[in-house]
Amino acid sequence: MEKFTTHQGVGVPLKRSNVDTDQIIPAVYLKRVTRTGFEDGLFAAWRNDPDFVLNQERYRNGSVLVAGPDFGTGSSREHAVWALQNYGFKVVISARFADIFRGNSGKAGLLAAQVDEKVVQALWDYLDDNPGGEIVVDLEARTVSTPDGSVQDSFDIDDYTRWRLLEGLDDIGITLGHDADIAAYEAKRPSWKPVTQHA
């Protein structure tokens, strides 16, 4: 997992609330056996609309999604996080996140920044005035801002998830930090324990 300290990228306004995981990535796209390639199903139902925000050229390289409240509700599928990441999103900003989505995001390295509803509105206003404008997210300082300084506010994230993202550690990375303990345990295992492959 990449370390996350600060990110500056094109903000994409998604002016909808209660975006559930089936809207992020419909179930029909879940048959894949990889963890990549889910960008084609991201917001699939809305992508047919030429006016949908992701179909507009200026948001093509969007990496900071600014969404309405209660983002990521519904099914627990981790694919929703993967789809956003596969598309190129590094940060999702919303006033409220569904718990499971927030947990999945932290584990996969997508920053779910929870802000006040007024901040979401201010960012939307900023992006209306500056289409294709960038947003700066500083995880160390826990702030979200715009380059022109018109929006400058803090966001919420729990300390543990913040630490993991700053260090670029996923669950496996954390466990591998105890590699010496695992090796010491393996050295003590009885010889009669079964193995599936014989040397």
Binding site: W192, P194, T196
Partner: protein
Amino acid sequence: MGKTLAEKVWDEHVVRSNPGEPDLLYIDLHLIHEVTSPQAFDGLRLAGRKVRRPDLTLATEDHNVPTVDWDKPIADPVSRTQVETLRRNAEEFGVRLHPLGDVEQGIVHVVGPQLGLTQPGMTIVCGDSHTSTHGAFGSIAFGIGTSEVEHVLATQTLPQAKPRTMAVTVNGSLPEGVTAKDLILTLISRTGTGGGQGYIVEYRGQAIEELSMEARMTICNMSIEWGAKAGLIAPDQTTFDYIEGRPEAPKGAEWDAAVAHWRTLVTDDDAEFDEEIVLDAADVTPFVTWGTNPGQGCAAGRLGAGAGGLRRAERPGRRREGADLHGSRGRHPDARDQGRHRLHRLLHQRPDRGPARRRRRARGPQGRRRHPADGRARLGASAAAGRGGGPRRRVQGGRRGVARRGLLDVPRHEPRHPGAGGAQRVDLQPQLRGPSGQGRPHAPGVAAGGRRDRRTGHAVVARRPGAGHRDRRELRGPLTWRSSPPTRESASR
């Protein structure tokens, strides 16, 4: 204080323990299959990681594969992709695979025991909930998700919070014709599908000791239907006899060393469980289930009591084996002259219906309209009428109308004395019997703020507001539930 079997096995596998953090548990055997592993392998690939212990990993194709024509290309595209991906991954990461057509290919929970890879005192995981099957050998075995599959592949460990422990003690011998499945269904129907939630359950007692390994695997497998994290049974001579001589079982001096250790894997006399259930094996009878969850079951012999049906089979001298009860097309031998399927009656006829009803039914299937709601216990009028799902059906007269038309299996005339007529209510919805799991404030069967019957001392679930007499449910029979006072450990969890 002594340790329970589960605690012994757990403690033997703790790689690292830190207060406030889950224990890091070493995994002795990781079984994988084509459905829950592809993205775990892809995650390894993306992060540039390898499988830490391919020699403790075994793959088979068993979840989404055909059981016929397996020598031909798989027709279903999703299944084909999954199987091909598993084969590629096994090759790339050096994992032993038993593919379709291989003599050792089979149900992932059975391959381990048959090869002798499943042994007492192990930790076994697999991306499938019914991994608890391996608990029959005295191992801690549980199902995991795809992210955890990836974690085990990469580290051979898993961070796990220590579950609470429960003992289910079954005293005496199971009656003839009563199987392991009847026993676990009895447990589930009496305590609800969440009765085991949060626990590693140890099954013990004479009835358990008398079971074959296959029957023990059935019980441990269905611990999941009971909501438990895992189920296990202490290893004994039956276990050792099953394992000895299998391809991957220890041999010679290794075997002796292994058995010597396995014999220590029993719950100490002074060990304490967080929860304990005691059951009398003699009280367990053949079971039938219906509906949509495994808690919706009842004793086959008792259900028909009011109608004078199967009960006759229970009289001395006329007892039939459970296999006959459920046997050929559900037809009971005694029922042949009447030309009627007893199992069908069990599910669709109200036990308190009189002869008139039976005559009408005897005219044939046209005598009564069939409906998806038939036999669904304790539904409201709208649900029984199909509005809860399935085709719509209008029933005049609301809930009572539904019952009157025989669409609802609600016994209206309960015997006053539990056990007098041998009848058992069929309208139990175990999930309504109160919360389960951590901090259970009361025995199952007693709703929060519940009470006990003054005369019998049995738990009585409070009536739901506005509901009539038939909403009263009793937890009866010899099942007892003992809850030890919370220990310092369990209270802090």
